[in-house]
């Protein structure tokens, strides 16, 4: 007749609990990491949306009709992509320096007026 070894059983129980605990902690850590990655990706997406204000406002963006398969982000020309970067600002951009009074009417003068 087998002898019930309570000490050995308790040891096995503790080992099992430790193992379950390790698995639980690893799963929690993996979930946390995944959540962080998702949050980062969402933040980048939100920033990218803000960089093209004309399309990011609720009234104009059409995420429901977006067709990723037809998106061609690589086809923009250098000139137009540079222009996009100019318009990342969420407000009208003030000049680096306000206009200065002109010393004289030298060559190379143009006129800004209605047209």
């Amino acid at each position: 007749m087998p002898v019930y070894d309570s000490r050995r059983a308790a040891g096995q129980r503790d080992a099992g609990l430790r193992r379950v605990g390790r698995i639980t902690w690893r799963a929690a850590a993996a979930g946390l990491a995944a959540a962080a990655v998702a949050a980062l990706a969402f933040a980048q997406h939100a920033t990218a949306g803000a960089s093209t204000p004309g399309t990011s406002t609720p009234g104009t963006s059409t995420p429901a009709t977006s067709t990723p398969g037809t998106s061609t982000p690589g086809t923009s020309t250098p000139g137009t992509s540079t222009h996009r970067s100019r318009h990342k600002h969420a407000s009208i951009v003030i000049p680096a320096r306000p206009p200065q009074p002109a010393a004289g009417s030298g060559s190379g003068q143009v006129t800004s007026g209605g047209s």
Binding site: T77, A102, A103, G113
Partner: protein
């Protein structure tokens, strides 16, 4: 380098004058070539008077979605951004309002008396509004809702000036000024004395016309005026700056507004909005820190945010 080293080139485009100034004579030919390429691209994208332009096809699409070019997507983005930043004062859906005033053809033809106004009397009503433009920039797909008809006149010329200046400066490595009918963009290293710009009611005014001469070294400067692109409909004087709230030419206390900003597109956005905002414009411009010169119908001038005072005898 002195001002005398600046090389100037000019040509006609879109019924107005394009002026290119570069700080190296060697850059003049490539600058012209680049500018003509950009302008042709913009014209094909958003001319209201070309049956083959993307804008015309979109206006005639009856609300169906349309795939568009990168250039047209950028132009639309700039127009929608202008609308958003001005609370809808600069609205690209004023195409039908302009056509209703007879401005459905090249302006030279219109001024010569060739207009056939679709609407001779009665209030036009508010324009459909920029939120009716459903642009998916990633997919380069756009759709107009509720019969909206586009006109990108408030931003496209300035956008083209910015793009020309940027490309010329980058490709040639020299300083450049691009003026398209008075919408001025500069890029690259400016001449030591800066770029001299005369601000006046009319971009075609002679150098001694009433106005003020200033210098800028970066960004853009644009002027909006109710005095130049103006005509009559059934004896009623009208102009091209539409108030989206009424669909009618803006009734403003300013005849001309000039603004300096980080880009010509932003400058023109602000100057157009200032005309529409009328008496509220100076406070709005000051709040944003935008240097501006506003001229009332009687010629008196108000300035904001560091715009220099007029020289004695400069007039408006």
């Amino acid at each position: 380098m002195t001002a005398n080293a600046i090389t100037e080139d000019s040509f006609e485009v879109w019924g107005t004058t394009a002026v290119l100034l570069v700080t190296s004579p060697l850059a003049a030919v490539p600058a012209r070539r680049l500018a003509e390429h950009v302008l042709a691209d913009v014209d094909l994208a958003c001319s209201r008077f070309r049956p083959d332009s993307e804008l015309t096809r979109l206006n005639e699409a009856g609300g169906e979605p349309m795939m568009i070019s990168a250039t047209f997507a950028d132009l639309l983005s700039a127009a929608l951004r202008a609308a958003r930043l001005t609370g809808g004062d600069v609205d690209p859906t004023c195409g039908q309002a302009l056509a209703g005033l007879g401005y459905d053809r090249d302006f030279a033809e219109l001024r010569a008396g060739g207009a056939t106004p679709l609407r001779l009397a009665g209030p036009a009503g508010a324009v459909p509004g920029w939120r009716r433009v459903r642009l998916d920039n990633g997919a380069r797909r756009v759709r107009l809702e509720h019969g909206a008809q586009l006109d990108l006149g408030a931003t496209a010329k300035a956008w083209a000036a910015d793009t020309c200046a940027e490309q010329i400066a980058r490709r040639t490595g020299c300083g450049v000024l691009v003026s398209l009918g008075g919408d001025v963009a500069v890029a690259g290293t400016p001449p030591p004395e800066g770029w001299q710009i005369r601000v006046a009611d009319d971009h075609a005014a002679p150098p001694d016309a009433p106005g003020q001469t200033v210098t800028i070294t970066s960004g853009g400067l644009a002027t909006s005026s109710t005095t130049v692109r103006a005509w009559t409909v059934a004896g009623r004087p009208v102009h091209h700056i539409i108030d989206p709230a009424t669909g009618e030419p803006a009734s403003s206390c300013w005849r001309t507004v000039s603004v300096a900003a980080g880009t010509c597109t932003d400058a023109n956005t602000a100057s157009t909005a200032a005309i529409i905002r009328s008496a509220a414009a100076p406070a709005w411009l000051r709040d944003m820190g935008l240097p501006a010169r506003l001229v009332r119908h009687d010629g008196t001038v108000e300035t904001t945010a560091g715009w220099p005072g007029d020289e004695p005898g400069g007039g408006a």
